[in-house]
């Protein structure tokens, strides 16, 4: 009897593992990739532990990477093509005015605990994300034209979304909005405890999602294990249910160097977000058992910017006096012309970075305007620009302004980021070529942030930002005058220059337009204005670098997060 029970269990296990099991009426999504092999674990070395497993609260990269494997969204951005593709939504129909989206859901799908999925889960999820009391980070994304989108159910597998105005990025908005299991989270939500559930101490049985993996185990300070979700809704070209891997084990090692050492010693199968120097080091050690991938320029842009805030109400006369230089476009252009971006790319990023003309990096396949080229280094043209703007040089070859004041300013950056300190050091030397004296001040990150967003007690700052998506919609907090990350001038809600008001108008227009060609034309113009007026002086964009054991198939690192595990369901180990 016992033996028969065991055999039955084993047979069921084999069926599940082979992916042949089908639930009645399941509308699975078929991929076009050749079939892979089931089984095996993937060990990933990570720097820091996740903060939570609750999609409503997750803001850190570690949590979001895990949740991308445990949860699913209605429409997903393919990290490789950078375009959207259906996920839990079988089809999305847009009304001609671009304000109404009818989303038809796949039928017969189940959460990782076996509970059926339907339109009520979608309604519940959006109700939670839009709830002001929850304060979820997704709420801002779901506000279109300053108003929240509305969601209604047409039938058990059809949901209607309505926007207050046409929305340029269209269905990209649904990417990474994890659909929550109503059957598990409705009670905590009504009791007001939703934000406290699904922490790292939760029992695996209490957490369910629609992603390819589900939570299995967490050992504090050491590892977190995800196991294969047997109910996942994708299959390969041979009809095998994905994912292939049995487990993904995240090991927390504390630092990038420890990550690299673990990978180099064979203790980890995958490593991502590594610096160019460490990548270079791994490349030098010829090893047939591992594969290193340079996915090209990321969406991160490093830049120098000057304090252009309105300081009339602040008691900062010394900085205010220098703002006449900073506000001068010729001065900013001259500074830009003096910076040797190519050397920065080579020395700071070991050649694995690209010089930038604007904030849009060449890694952005859809929106990059290749006609805008990075400023070539030219001391002569910088001197000409400075002379034309009324600057001159004294007998000690120091640059002085019209009133004879030497041009000297500080460059602020943060202590924890070696690459930024190195860039600032190189810029110091570059600017010295035209007699501009700078001194670098490196502060702890929060002190630096306090100065640039609170007290405005700084002159110039070197910083990096990374776009969350390739779409210009993700830059709306940066470029319009009233943007919360309009770092160089946070004191004005309206434009104070012609070019800034044109940017405001173009950014607003492209957000309302639903024609891709029109949006591209408008955003190209934004890039041209940026390159001409340089509110920020773009420097370089580092490449996305990753490594994996050679036997790992379907590894295709991308420049959108999560860089390596975005297609975790397709990864499998080759037979060798």
């Amino acid at each position: 009897m016992r033996c028969r029970g065991y055999m039955r269990y084993r047979a069921a296990l084999l069926i599940v593992l082979s992916g042949a099991v089908r639930l009645a009426g399941e509308d699975l999504l078929s991929t076009t990739k050749p079939p892979g092999r089931y089984g095996g674990n993937l060990v990933v070395a990570e720097r820091s532990e996740p903060k939570t497993l609750n999609p409503v609260m997750a803001i850190d990269n570690g949590s979001r990477e895990l949740l991308s494997l445990m949860m699913a969204d209605l429409v997903h951005i393919n990290r490789e093509s950078q375009r959207t593709e259906p996920a839990l939504a079988r089809a999305v129909d847009r009304s001609p005015d671009g304000r109404r989206y009818i989303v038809r859901l796949r039928e017969g799908l189940r959460f990782s605990d076996g509970y059926p999925f339907d339109a009520d889960d979608v309604l519940f999820s959006f109700q939670v994300y839009l709830d002001e009391k929850i304060h979820s980070p997704q709420r801002d994304l779901l506000m279109v034209g300053g108003k929240p989108l509305t969601v209604s159910k047409q039938d058990s597998h059809t949901v209607v979304f309505e926007f207050a105005q046409p929305y340029g990025p269209e269905d990209r908005l649904f990417d990474s909005i994890a659909i929550l299991p109503r059957h598990l989270l409705l009670q905590p939500y009504t009791e007001g405890t939703l934000t406290k559930v699904w922490d790292l101490n939760s029992m695996p049985a209490d957490i369910a999602g629609l992603g390819p993996f589900r939570f299995k185990q967490y050992v504090p300070g050491q590892r977190l294990v995800l196991e294969r979700n047997p109910y996942y809704w994708k299959q390969d070209s041979a009809g095998q249910r994905l994912p292939y891997l049995a487990n993904i084990i995240f090991e927390y090692v504390g630092s990038e160097d420890a990550q690299v050492l673990r990978f180099a010693s064979g203790g980890a199968d995958v490593v991502s977000r590594i610096s160019a120097r460490n990548f270079d080091l791994l490349s030098r050690e010829a090893h047939r058992s591992r594969r290193l991938v340079d996915a090209g320029p990321s969406l991160e842009y490093n830049f120098l910017f000057f304090n252009l805030n309105n300081l009339s109400k602040k008691n900062l006369p010394q900085i205010e006096a220098k703002q006449s230089w900073f506000r001068n476009v010729s001065f900013r252009r001259a500074v830009s012309a003096l910076i040797d971006r190519q050397s920065i790319a080579w020395l700071v990023f070991a050649g694995r970075a690209v010089p930038l003309a604007t904030h849009v990096t060449p890694g952005n396949k859809l929106w990059f305007d290749s006609s805008v080229v990075p400023t070539a280094r030219s001391i002569e043209s910088a001197r000409t620009l400075l002379s034309s703007a009324g600057f001159s040089w004294n007998s000690s070859h120091k640059l002085i302004d019209q009133s004879g004041r030497p041009v000297e300013f500080s460059i602020l950056t943060n202590t924890g980021n070696t690459e930024r300190i190195q860039m600032a050091t190189m810029i110091q030397q570059d600017l010295e070529q035209a007699g501009i004296a700078t001194h670098m001040v490196s502060l702890e990150f929060r002190s630096m942030l306090d100065r640039i967003t609170g007290t405005f007690d700084y002159e110039a700052c070197l910083l990096g930002l990374a776009s969350g998506d390739v779409d210009p919609g993700s830059e709306m907090s940066v470029w319009p005058s009233d943007g919360s990350t309009h770092l160089w001038d946070l004191t004005r809600a309206t434009a104070d220059t012609m070019w800034q008001s044109e940017i405001d108008r173009l950014m607003a227009s492209q957000m309302r337009s639903t024609k891709v060609a029109t949006r591209k034309r408008l955003y190209d113009r934004v890039q041209q204005i940026m390159a001409t007026n340089l509110p920020i002086i773009p420097l370089v964009s580092p490449n996305v670098l990753a490594g994996a054991k050679a036997g790992l198939r379907n590894l295709r690192p991308a420049i959108l997060l999560p860089y390596v595990l975005w297609n975790g369901e397709e990864l499998y180990w080759s037979a060798q």
Partner: protein, 332 residues
């Protein structure tokens, strides 16, 4: 044996301090000059015999690995960049150098192609000054407060000792972070750095104060002090003439221990990003790059600056040992 060891320690320390004093003369290149095409260049090999086996009385380097005939002799007292010798006379003479475009990196170059030797020489000025300055502040405060506490005793003693305990218990790293964050940005890098070093020195007063207090407690009871008091000497006179001079030997020994301690503190501060800002060099910020695994394992010459604080520390500890030996009572 002991004496020769101590003499050598004095000699080495004097040499290092002389190099620090004449850093610009000793350095062939400005410490901030970047030669970007020579990033992480290994130390230049200095030759006496060329590839054909011919001996040269003047040492030389090869301009490139391929051009065998392209020798660049090393010249002494050469002309180079202008600087102020000892802060007084403008000159462009340097101890040694090679004719451009040949480049002589005695200790290799860093990631920006800056000469490590020139940076080490310039950095010794910053690091040694930091060590001496912090030690001088700690010892002065320690001597005054410890002397007062030990000599007068009572509530003053209690107050100073409790303040000392608080000072020892303070998480000084946060004080330094706060101090650095609060400084105006237009303060030059060297000034802001020495402000931090002053804070470190001030925070370090408690240990020497406890030692001085102990000594003052014992000295005030000695016969000659009691006799002077009986003759009407005031407290400040006794402290100045009899008590504090007796603490000199203990302060000198403490100095020999504190200077290397503060030099190593500078290395720690640089590791935490609180050291002197680039491009100014110090022993600490030259070593800060080693916290990156790829630098540590790829470029061995980046470890060489670690020898400087190590040598200074060893010399100082030898001197401290010898001073302690001198203070030990001789058995009759």
């Amino acid at each position: 044996m002991m004496e020769s060891k101590v003499t050598a320690a004095y000699g080495v320390l004097a040499t290092i301090h002389l190099i620090a004093f004449l850093a610009d003369f000793v350095a062939p290149y400005p410490f901030a000059a970047q030669q970007r095409d020579l990033s992480f260049a290994p130390p230049t090999r200095i030759h006496w015999t060329d590839r054909s086996g011919q001996f040269h009385f003047r040492p030389f380097i090869y301009r490139s690995a391929s051009a065998a005939s392209n020798l660049a002799p090393i010249h002494f007292f050469v002309r180079g960049y202008s600087y102020k010798l000892a802060g007084l006379f403008t000159t462009d003479r340097h101890l040694f150098g090679v004719e451009s475009p040949a480049v002589l990196f005695v200790l290799g170059s860093d990631g920006f192609g800056r000469d490590q030797f020139s940076r080490l020489a310039a950095g010794s000025r910053i690091s040694l000054t930091a060590g001496w300055l912090a030690a001088a502040i700690s010892l002065s405060l320690g001597a005054i407060l410890g002397g007062l506490a030990g000599f007068y005793g009572g509530w003053l003693d209690d107050l100073v000792m409790r303040l000392g305990e608080i000072s020892l218990a303070l998480p000084w790293i946060y004080l330094l972070l706060a101090g650095r964050a609060g400084l105006p940005l237009d303060v030059p890098a060297v000034t802001s750095y020495f402000i931090l070093i002053t804070i470190v020195g001030v925070l370090g007063w408690a240990r020497p104060a406890r030692l001085v207090r102990g000594l003052a407690l014992s000295v005030r009871e000695r016969g000659y002090v009691t006799a002077a008091r009986a003759f009407g000497a005031s407290g400040s006179y006794l402290l100045r003439v009899h008590v504090l001079p007796d603490t000199i030997s203990i302060l000198v020994t403490q100095a020999a221990l504190l200077v290397p301690q503060y030099i190593l503190a500078e290395v720690t501060l640089s590791f935490l990003g609180l050291g002197i800002d680039e491009p100014s060099p110090s022993w600490g910020n030259m070593l800060a790059g080693l916290q990156h695994y790829n630098v540590l394992v790829s470029y061995w010459w980046m470890l060489l600056p670690a020898l400087a604080p190590a040598i200074v520390s060893l010399c100082c500890f030898s001197i401290a040992d010898s001073l302690l030996e001198l203070r030990r009572p001789v058995p009759l």
